[in-house]
């Protein structure tokens, strides 16, 4: 912001009122920016309007969806249940919520340990975490498939085709980027608070649950929501782990609807896409500045 603050007084000082540039000069300096913006917004919004419009064409196929807002009919939304969309939505909700809560709890606990305790192997564990992040889970999907195949013989509830199995795979990524994000945040909570609580007789568990976690709520919310959004958008691992249609998550389910676009129930798919996208878009709008802030500040520190 400081850049903009510097420029504004300078503009007035040279006796050109920034807000009242007119005519050719306005076009040259500001107007063209609006043109760029409007063009870009059209490019951004048209595909989204297309989905919205397609979702309102009853029994729509690909061909019937080309004329934007030709009809207004909510039958696709009411028919979503026939293809099992709501059970996919429920599965996704369960998987993403449990993953988000688990990620927050385990990540916060680990960040607390790294931030507040000094123990043998602390540096080693931190470095190890950093290294483990190097190998993205998606690369290991073949091994994950075979691993769950084997685990399923022992614990069927943790094997293939099980939501719990999928959650466990996602929780494998709970420590990692999130832990470092939280670790940095935990370090900003003054240690004097812990010490004061300790002197008053609080145990380490009480300090963790009732003091630290309350003070770092913003980062917990951000990590939880990021984890929710990323497991919601995951396709590869969900597709590998889940094979039965009734267990599909939204990503796998909507893919199965639209896989062959010629015969796809396009209106139904579009309705599902709208329902699935709205909460995520709202979350993003809400999270926007946290995400940018976290990304850039984290990167400078390396």
């Amino acid at each position: 912001m400081s850049y903009t603050e510097v420029r504004a007084p300078k503009a007035t000082a040279t006796n050109v009122n920034a807000d009242h540039v007119r005519g050719l000069r306005w076009w040259k300096e500001i107007g063209w920016r609006h043109v760029v913006g409007v063009v870009m917004i059209i490019i951004c919004v048209v595909p989204l309007l297309y989905v919205l419009s397609a979702s309102l064409v009853p029994g729509g196929t690909l061909t019937g969806s080309n004329q934007l807002f030709r009809s207004f009919d909510l039958s696709n939304y009411t028919n979503l249940g026939d293809r099992g969309f709501w059970s996919w939505a429920r599965n996704s909700l369960i998987v993403c919520t449990v993953t988000a809560i688990g990620t927050v709890l385990m990540g916060a606990a680990a960040a607390y340990a790294f931030s507040r305790f000094r123990f043998r192997g602390r540096r080693g564990t931190l470095t190890g975490l950093l290294l483990a992040q190097m190998f993205p889970q998606t690369l290991a999907f073949v091994a994950i498939f075979l691993l769950l195949l084997t685990i399923g013989e022992v614990f069927p509830a943790l094997g293939l085709n099980s939501l719990l199995g999928l959650i466990c795979v996602y929780l494998g990524g709970a420590l990692g980027v999130n832990t470092f994000l939280m670790y940095g945040f935990f370090n900003t909570v003054p240690r004097e608070l812990d010490e004061a609580a300790k002197i008053d007789g609080a145990t380490h568990a009480q300090i963790f649950w009732t003091i630290i976690l309350r003070l770092v709520t913003p980062i917990l919310a951000v990590v939880g929501l990021l984890s929710f959004v990323s497991s919601f958008g995951d396709f590869l691992i969900a597709k590998v782990v889940i094979q039965r249609p009734e267990q599909y998550t939204v990503a796998v389910g909507l893919y199965s609807l639209a896989a062959d676009e010629r015969t796809a129930p396009w209106g139904l798919f579009a309705a599902g896409a709208v329902v699935a996208a709205i909460p995520v878009i709202l979350l993003f709008m809400f999270l926007q500045r946290y995400i940018v802030g976290g990304l850039t500040s984290g990167s400078v520190k390396g």
Partner: protein
């Protein structure tokens, strides 16, 4: 948890002292025995549940001979109980849950990938050698000429079908998985079983209903596959079938008694005859670096593989370049405080980023359809441009869609970075007489790169493995012709891995894992190099 009194020195973050000096219970804090707070009971219940699960898992792992899982569970059980009931393991109490998941689903699966990469694991090589021997014996069973016919009673128990026969006066029952065994209390009607306790005897109508299952049912005579099995073709009479193959463990050969052909075990997990015919299934063996070299030496694969490799680099690089260029351009354009409604512009411009990526790819796939798509039909008034079916246009489409998806992220990041550039730096440049272009080129851009460059490296690594975009938009197509695996012009390495592992007819986990390792090495080296370069930027 609350049994831990935090006035002991270890809790204040000092390094643990040698065990001998440690204050004992009752001297340094309140002992476990006297501290039964609410937290303790919560912990007790949780750990008890985990223990119960682990004990169940150990028993069930032992019963299916999964020794690795059993061993891991024993270790985990000991660790969990030690961590949560010992006074020493304070950090472990907080680290253990996350570390267990990390270990199983990230570290182990990474190591397992590396291990599989050196084996021929896949369809036809799924299991151990003894399983393969059994399977070959079973597959080659034929009715033994002149053997006795057993009048058959078909029984079922909870949906499992079984055969009941009378052998030497006693009724024996067997199913697909359990060989024939005598049943006490069963009655026979002549040479045919009449009732079997615990089993329902199926009538003619039920047999007719389950005809396929009955005809395909194979009930082993004993645990040894060489003894053969009972099978039926009409549901009334069963005959003993025996394998025409015999396995000789001493010479490690399989002999076909019908033709006299001898199949010898080779080092690729197959029984192979002198003329090269292999018996299926084979078994899993390590094959060294074969999976790694195969992509380069197998002439039917190496051509497409090299094309995919080049395209993967091009795709990842061009994706980063285009999204960054457009994002930076827009960030600079909108970084002027005199523009009204900047907030509205920003909110609308990040919509493609907020829209879930997998959905965007599917929507674009529909919009770019040749015959019915929105782009050809509405925007281009009935053109039939093969956006996704022509090799080069498909590549262009993939890049364009990824640009649509990715530029808002770069726009956000660049906006943030531009706004964090200190104003006094810019002002002093102006005082020194630098032109606006010069300021952008020599001050703004280098400062911007310091914070954005690491994100460009991550973005490269992300796009290198951008499976869902490719898989959902083009499915890798248009396909190459004449390759043994189904891959196409827009496939990137990770979607090739998926195709090799699951979608090319014969599943080849070993080859797929080797390709995964290759991707990991490539991405790792590039990231390492990239981050080193960005460090240097920071020193500017």
């Amino acid at each position: 948890m609350s049994h831990q009194q935090t006035i002991t020195p270890e809790d204040e973050g000092t390094p643990p002292r040698p065990p001998g000096e440690r204050p004992r219970n009752g001297t340094g804090g309140v002992s476990h025995a006297r501290d039964f707070g609410r937290g303790f009971w919560v912990k007790l219940v949780l750990v008890a549940l985990i223990d119960a699960g682990a004990v169940y898992g150990i028993l069930s792992a032992v019963s299916v001979s999964q020794w690795a899982i059993a061993g891991f569970l024993v270790l985990a059980l000991v660790l969990v109980n030690w961590a949560y009931f010992s006074k020493r393991a304070l950090p472990a109490k907080y680290l253990l849950p996350g570390l267990v998941f990390l270990f199983v689903y990230v570290i182990f699966s990474a190591c397992y990938t590396a291990f599989i990469a050196f084996t021929n694991y896949g369809d036809g090589h799924n299991s151990t050698k003894s399983d393969a021997v059994q399977a070959i014996l079973i597959q080659n069973e034929q009715r033994v000429e002149g053997s006795a016919a057993y009048p058959l009673t078909i029984v079922s128990q909870g949906g499992t079908l079984g055969f009941a026969v009378v052998q030497d006066g006693t009724v024996e029952v067997g199913t697909q998985d359990d060989p024939l065994a005598p049943v006490t209390g069963a009655t026979a009607d002549g040479d045919k079983a009449a009732t079997v306790p615990g089993w329902d005897v199926l009538g003619f109508a039920q047999i007719a209903q389950e005809q396929d299952a009955v005809v395909n049912l194979r009930v082993p005579v004993s645990d040894d596959a060489a003894d053969g099995s009972l099978r039926t073709s009409d549901g009334l009479t069963a005959y003993v079938y025996q394998s025409t193959m015999t396995y000789d463990p001493a010479t490690d050969t399989m002999t076909d008694s019908a033709t006299g052909t001898v199949y010898t075990a080779d080092d690729h997990g197959n029984f192979r005859s002198a003329d090269g015919t292999a018996l299926t299934p084979g078994w899993r063996v390590t094959v060294g670096f074969e999976n790694f070299t195969r992509a380069f030496t197998d002439s039917r694969i190496s051509g497409p593989f090299l094309q995919i490799l080049v395209w993967t680099f091009a795709f990842a690089f061009l994706s980063v370049l285009t999204t960054f260029a457009l994002g930076l351009f827009l960030a600079v354009v909108f970084n002027d405080p005199r523009i009204r409604g900047r907030k509205v512009y920003r909110a609308l411009l990040i919509l493609p980023y907020a829209f879930p990526g997998f959905l965007a790819a599917l929507v674009w796939k529909g919009m770019l359809n040749v015959d019915f798509g929105f782009v050809n039909q509405t925007l281009l008034h009935g053109a039939s441009i093969p956006w996704l079916t022509d090799p080069w246009l498909a590549k262009l489409s993939v890049l364009m869609v990824n640009l649509w998806l990715g530029f808002p992220y770069m726009f956000l990041v660049c906006t943030g970075a531009l706004q964090s550039i200190p104003g006094d730096v810019l002002e002093s440049a102006k005082m020194d007489g630098a032109s606006p272009v010069r300021v952008q080129r020599s001050i703004v851009f280098p400062l911007l790169m310091v914070s954005v460059a690491p994100l460009l490296v991550s973005s490269f690594a992300f796009n290198f493995n951008n499976f869902s975009l490719i898989y959902m938009l083009t499915g890798g197509g248009p396909d190459f012709q004449g390759t043994p695996i189904i891959v196409g012009h827009t496939d990137i390495l990770i979607s090739m891995v998926y195709s090799v592992a699951f979608e090319s007819g014969v599943k080849q986990y070993g080859f797929a894992s080797a390709l995964s390792i290759l991707i990991f090495v490539i991405v790792g080296v590039i990231s390492w190099w990239g981050f080193r370069r960005t460090r240097r930027l920071e020193e500017l």
